[in-house]
Point group: D3
């Protein structure tokens, strides 16, 4: 079991897809559910790359939809681990659409997924801590703790008062 700390950047997964007719909704744009399916795979690959073990989806914490991706456009998905908590890893995803003909690229989505690593008996197993190298990675690392506290509060597994970092946002601000 390798739990030596590993760089966030080593977990980066780049996925490229094309929006085909069977991926679209009635407006001719990429269906939300189809994109979530692709993001789930990209994020699971990033988590698996970080811990070298099988992983399963534990939660989706937030997916924002900023602009629809059109039929015939290219979908760029980038997934990278932000922080590890014992046996779980938070993965951050950025999604862009691109129209090659008009050479126009636009941000479409951002999301946070959480995965748990499993041992051969399908029990949670320890994962490597994440080494941070850039300011962007540090901001995601810091936020991961607050997002985890929101998740635990929403799931009834933590009292708001115990979520020190999250609470600080409201009291200090």
């Amino acid at each position: 079991m390798n739990v030596e700390p590993r760089k966030a950047t080593d977990s980066l997964v780049v996925m490229t897809e094309l929006v085909l007719p069977n991926d679209t909704n009635l407006f001719g744009n990429l269906m939300g559910g189809r994109l979530m399916y692709w993001m789930d795979i990209a994020a699971a690959l990033a988590a698996g790359k970080h811990c070298n073990a099988p992983v399963v989806t534990a939660s989706v914490d937030n997916i924002s939809f900023e602009a629809p991706i059109k039929l015939g456009n290219v979908v760029h998905i980038e997934a990278k681990v932000t922080r590890a908590f014992n046996s779980s890893m938070e993965v951050h995803l950025n999604v862009w659409g691109e129209d090659y003909t008009h050479q126009y690229k636009y941000k479409s989505n951002e999301a946070y997924y959480t995965f748990v690593a499993l041992d051969p008996n399908r029990k949670p197993r320890q994962v490597p801590p994440v080494i941070i190298e850039t300011e962007e990675e540090n901001k995601l690392y810091e936020g991961a703790l607050r997002r985890r506290q929101i998740r635990l509060i929403l799931g009834g597994k933590m009292k708001p008062n115990d979520a020190a970092e999250l609470k600080a946002l409201f009291v200090k601000d």
Copy 2:
């Protein structure tokens, strides 16, 4: 444009699916991404039923994974609108797995999706307010405001200090 208030219960959508080999991950359980795809459709149908207009996914606020659904088991998805905010609606989803042979039914997921209603020019349009009838619906209605504040803060569209209802959780507790 019909914006007369409508009962939450009138938006209820019940979806039943069977987990087939092509829906499973390497553990023989329903893939997270495949379930998110079904939930997106069920939730969009509930939102569309509430406002009688085309809707698009605006955000996924939280999806929890409590127990995996096994190959050959039945997936029950229930989606219902919890609250409306001008042109957007929050939809709450409950998901259960069921094994008919062993007559065993288990809770697997819970989620919150947000949709926006569009007019024929694809601009956001007003949606009907939600009428609450049960205590359960009231709890979801109350929570919707706090979840919206979390979403706006995470998206950088609100300052924590302005999220009065959310802040109250931390200060009063």
Copy 3:
């Protein structure tokens, strides 16, 4: 092996689907084959719910197409066991299309499928008889015998003269 009689209504399965571009034929309507695929799953679930055992399709006795379901419309499928014969169960299905935007719901299909329950050695096993509670259920229960006779005659497993109930339709009428 539980073969206590069970209520028809306990086997009810409700399925909701959305007609997406990849489900349509060249007229922009739901393809017949795609609908049969969904109905097969809904009907198998109703049969499995009735007998709590794995089931396989034994025959499709009749599927009528009354109105096409359009792209973007919702598909409602209801499946319920009508009658049991030793190891087989007839399932009746009703299908409706619905256009949420125009608040218009219409009957599209009706069908009868037959399933056989299997034991762990994949041999047919006894299934519970069906308890009838409504006049509608009784009509379906009565008809099931005649539909079975038609099926056996078409399959060369019964002589028309031995199909007493079916024969009565022609001789008495």
Copy 4:
């Protein structure tokens, strides 16, 4: 509009498919619904070949399941028009499974589908009568009338007493 009579044999469509993992049920055999989807396409092609016009599924009159087709086996589907009635055509299908490794071919299904031909305004249009050449084709041609009477009686569009050919089966036998 070409309604010159055409030979049944000219409408023959041969379809060959391979049973892949995503086509199977929990027993590792071809799912009933997946086969119905393929049969619907094969039958529609046979009907379209006969009348050179777009066609839509009008009813499925009977599908028998004699033996399951296993994962990795080949599916052979043959579809041929049996008889025309104004704007509708009955199509007969035979399905075989084949295991190339063991050089074993077996009958699995037989079915009758009915299609309606449409004109450019999507109204039913006249189709060519069918020319019969073999005894097998004649038997199917004769039976088509009785199957149509069963269909009309089941659909409430004909009284049993008016179904002369069908009635004869019971009275004469």
Copy 5:
């Protein structure tokens, strides 16, 4: 292990498909990748029929695209073994599109795939030689050797100078 020579014609596989919306590219024509998927199955079936053993794709030597197949048109694929080399078989494919409404059939593709037969330990196993009966088959049989030499040279497994039959094309011409 049956390695008695077998006729090329006995390996013929005929596949018929319909171009549906989810098979098309942005021009409303059959996507190249979707056609390659169907051709791979048709060719694998022809190879499996020839050797009665499981086969895996070893290479695709050439696929030409002469005319696009339109949405709603029929795809006819014919696959036949041209020649055997120890454990490998070359398969030749012809593809036509057909528009039933306008009774217009056109050649769209031609391709050569190579498959290897495997024994139960997944090692290559001997396959039967091919018996040639027509001039067309003979031309394909002759060409197979040259195409194999091109493949081996491109793969760095043969020096151009050792490809006698291929070399003759350039030196004699």
Copy 6:
């Protein structure tokens, strides 16, 4: 119409996929046809990125299968334009499999696809020449001409004697 020469490296497309149950053949490995489908999309994206116009598949010149990719492994596809010929572009693809759990990455396939760029009237249009920067790119650029000559000879559009560069391989060697 931008036909300023562009760097080969600017057309690079990186695609990452996961082998799921419905992508596998009977040996539990990625199906050849499924991989060709993904490669067709990756290659089309690389060609489209190079010329900023819609493209269609013109031919597949060679796909080698060196090692199978197993269920649960990751598929890495890299596609890059090698050379332009008036309105056509050759794209070179490398494919690797990767097992994250065992940290093992292996080369599985290599391929050459050719695409044609289309103008708004669906007629072939001029594409930018390719700027070569590395020795590897130069080798692919040189080979592209010989592969094109093989393709033209196989398609009966060039006589072997006119394929100077290809002929040189056999005469000089």
